[in-house]
């Protein structure tokens, strides 16, 4: 039962990264691909009706994590206290920028929110990548099951590492590039004219950067977290996940905008599921004493809650997916500026 919930939480987080990922990515490329006010409105219109719903996956994923793995929720959120609070502030600023930018027409109003939107999107992508890096590397859990990490120490990825070290920063850069690429493909899919052309060429150039960084990340991840290698050796069927990522990466080069965007979705899902598969059964490895790690079993809520949770969760998510399908369908096709 805990493993089922582990998969469900992982799916919700992956859905969040894929969905909110493209609007974060659109934010990263925003100033680069959209120069005039009309162009910027077009990019915003391409995410306007959906970004809030995309972000709900983060909330629903967080809530699901809370009741299925309370010990993980408690340890992770308090241990990453400072960066998480900064993520919250960035989410606030970014949400306000998207919602309030078009309320006023002025030479100081829109440019200000444009920079806030782009800056917050860039930083959020890096923060999320860094967070993932921390989970893979492990954190110094104590015997009561908590930790507290300083923002940085000596930037080594060893036992005394802070939240930022060379490895987690590298993952942060990888996430930044991946989401920029993802957003570029989305903007290319949803817009026309100059914005589409610029987004397409940005995505094409970013692709090479993504390939280089992803190769580097893959190699160093196996060195930083030996458990990853062990997982793939013990359960070779797991290679299906990196293969999915590879297939997505290749499909991203497609000339068909929809196919390229879907390729990017599969690439992200493949990468995340590889990590999840590699880290399992840990949910938060300990980098000082592996015995103190949080696992699917020792972090899970008791059986009754998990069992009864499935009864409402499945119909609830079926409903949610039906609203999503409705929203995306009614909002299909290119946006008109």
């Amino acid at each position: 039962m805990p493993t089922i919930w582990f998969c469900l939480v992982a799916i919700m987080i992956a859905a969040y990264v894929v969905l909110d990922g493209f609007d974060l990515g659109a934010g990263i490329l925003y100033l680069a691909v959209a120069k005039t006010d009309d162009e910027r409105r077009a990019v915003l219109a391409s995410i306007g009706p959906v970004w809030d719903g995309n972000e709900v996956w983060l909330l629903a994923g967080g809530g699901t994590l809370y009741f299925a793995f309370p010990a993980l929720y408690a340890a992770g959120f308090s241990g990453f206290y400072l960066p998480l609070m900064m993520v919250l502030w960035l989410l606030i600023l970014r949400g306000i920028a998207i919602e309030f930018r078009n309320h006023l027409h002025s030479d100081v109003w829109e440019p200000f929110w444009d920079v806030v939107f782009c800056g917050a999107s860039c930083l959020l992508a890096i923060f999320f990548g860094t967070a993932l890096g921390n989970v893979v590397r492990g954190v110094p859990l104590d015997s009561s099951g908590y930790f507290f990490l300083p923002l940085w120490t000596d930037f080594s990825a060893g036992r005394d590492a802070g939240i930022l070290d060379w490895y987690t920063v590298l993952i942060g850069i990888g996430a930044f590039l991946t989401l920029a690429e993802h957003g570029g493909l989305w903007v290319a899919l949803k817009t026309e004219g100059a914005v589409e052309t610029r987004a397409r060429s940005a995505a094409a150039r970013l692709w090479w950067a993504v390939v280089v960084v992803v190769i580097g990340i893959t190699i160093v991840s196996f060195a930083v977290q030996p458990h990853l290698g062990a997982s793939f050796r013990e359960r070779p069927w797991g290679f299906i996940f990196p293969l999915l990522a590879l297939a997505g990466l290749i499909a991203m080069k497609s000339r068909n905008a929809l196919r390229a965007f879907l390729g990017s979705c599969f690439y992200i899902i493949g990468m995340l599921s590889s990590v999840v598969f590699g880290v399992y059964p840990y949910v938060l490895p300990c980098n000082t004493d592996p015995a103190l790690s949080l696992t699917v079993q020792n972090a899970a809520a008791p059986p009754y809650g998990l069992a009864i949770g499935l009864i409402w969760f499945i119909p609830g998510m079926a409903l949610a997916i039906s609203y999503f399908t409705y929203t995306y369908r009614s909002f299909g096709g290119k946006v008109r500026a």
Partner: protein
């Protein structure tokens, strides 16, 4: 400042600021459905224009509620990790249900409601308004379910390591505390929205612009306001008070400033709790009224704080006492204002009664203050427990988060929310200036 104080203030500040917005969202979503129902039935475009105007206000308000709501969900883990670890298996259920059942619904159909009127046609647009209303009221339900469980825990058992195990989801969702607290809270949100609507309507009539809409806002707001204000007192407030009397008797004694057990206990109108001398200074009371309101007998005995051991006393009795009295006092004044307004409306004199319009315009902040004071009563009254009788607030904080880190982020939130407040007022002010015909 110690860690406990900072974490408590951190949550209190962020949740108080947050709830300024959802209360208007929930109440306004209801009133918009009312306006749209009239529009659909009569085919009168005037009411569609009115609901579009309030839709714009709702959009700004909703965005504020969303961005200040995200930190709430995360703060259970960041600042209250030990509480989350112990109780996450229970309250995580209701919080996850809120995400799954209401956030997806709201976020999907708010866009359709705000931007889809032309494309959807009147019927589907009406449905989208109803779904936004439903989503926001469901969201309220799950949050109150969480709070009700912390006020009156049920459907759980204690595990060997002190963890709290859910044993019945049904009892969690059908908690006897939940029913009245939910109705009391939701009626309160309609009170706030009604006063916001009448305030802006009164403003339009006073400055003689958009007068047709001003009259509509007044009419709608006053009728919804008088009904919701009366429901606040009876039965919802009355029953909520009885819940406290039966299930949290030390809280009732502290709210009322009743230090000694008394037969025929008085209802205190004014007075200052003196914690040193254990009495109320300068009391102004209605004799026997508290006994009657609680037990329907004038001479019934009401337990005072002296009956309970000190470690069950709420830790800030004066603040709890004032919060409660501010809530009740303002609630009474708001009822009086709405009764006077509805009388004038009935006599056909409201739109020209400028003193009354002044009162309605200036009443705007008071429902917000009353709901805030009401929530302070609920939350201070629960102290010193996080989960009443089960888990102490002191044991709930994140042990590894230093007071310095907590203060840093508290200051950060204060700065951020100060900025948000200015932006909100500025943007809503612009919508009011433009008016419903824009």
């Amino acid at each position: 400042m110690d860690a406990l104080t900072i974490h408590r203030f951190h949550f209190a500040f962020t949740v108080t600021f947050h709830y300024l917005f959802p209360q208007l969202t929930m109440g306004l979503a209801f009133l918009i459905v009312v306006l749209k129902t009239i529009a659909l039935r009569t085919g009168n475009e005037h009411y569609n224009q009115a609901s579009r105007f309030w839709g714009k206000v709702l959009a700004i308000n909703f965005a504020m509620g969303v961005v200040t709501g995200i930190p709430m969900e995360f703060q259970f883990g960041t600042n209250w990790a030990r509480f989350s670890k112990a109780a996450g298996g229970v309250i995580g259920q209701t919080l996850a249900m809120e995400g799954v059942f209401s956030f997806f619904l709201e976020s999907s159909f708010l866009g359709a409601f705000l931007f889809g009127e032309k494309r959807l046609g009147p019927k589907a647009h009406y449905v989208s308004a109803v779904l936004v209303f439903l989503g926001s009221w469901l969201s309220g339900f799950f949050i109150i379910a969480t709070n009700a469980w912390m006020q009156y825990p049920t459907g759980y058992r204690l595990g060997t390591n002190g963890e709290i195990l859910l044993t019945s989801l049904g009892r969690l969702l059908a908690n006897r505390w939940l029913f009245w607290q939910y109705l009391h809270n939701m009626t309160g949100s309609v009170v706030t929205a009604s006063f916001v609507m009448t305030s802006i309507g009164a403003f339009y009539l006073l400055v003689r612009s958009h007068e047709a809409h001003g009259r509509t806002f007044l009419r709608t707001g006053v009728i919804a306001g008088v009904i919701s204000c009366c429901l606040m007192l009876f039965p919802t407030g009355d029953q909520q008070g009885k819940n406290i009397a039966y299930l949290q008797p030390p809280t009732l004694a502290a709210m009322e400033g009743l230090f000694q057990t008394q037969a025929g206990a008085p209802l205190v109108i004014l007075g200052q709790p003196d914690m040193e001398k254990q009495r109320l200074d300068n009391p102004l009371v209605v004799p026997n009224a508290l006994s009657f309101l609680t037990y329907q007998r004038w001479k019934a005995e009401v337990k005072g704080l002296n009956e309970f051991s000190r470690d069950w006393w709420p830790d800030n009795i004066p603040l709890l006492y004032y919060s409660y009295h501010i809530m009740v006092g303002l609630g009474t004044i708001l009822i009086a204002v709405m009764l006077a307004a509805v009388f004038l409306l009935w006599r056909g004199r409201l739109y020209g009664a400028r003193p009354m319009l002044w009162v309605l315009m200036l009443a705007l902040p008071f429902p917000y203050i009353a709901t805030t004071a009401g929530w302070m009563t609920a939350e201070l009254g629960r102290q010193p427990w996080l989960i009443y009788g089960v888990f102490r607030t002191l044991d709930g904080t994140s042990a590894r988060v230093s007071p310095g880190s907590g203060l840093f982020t508290l200051i950060g939130f204060m700065g951020m929310y100060g900025l948000l407040a200015i932006l909100f007022l500025f943007l809503v002010h612009r919508e009011i200036e433009h008016g419903p015909e824009a």
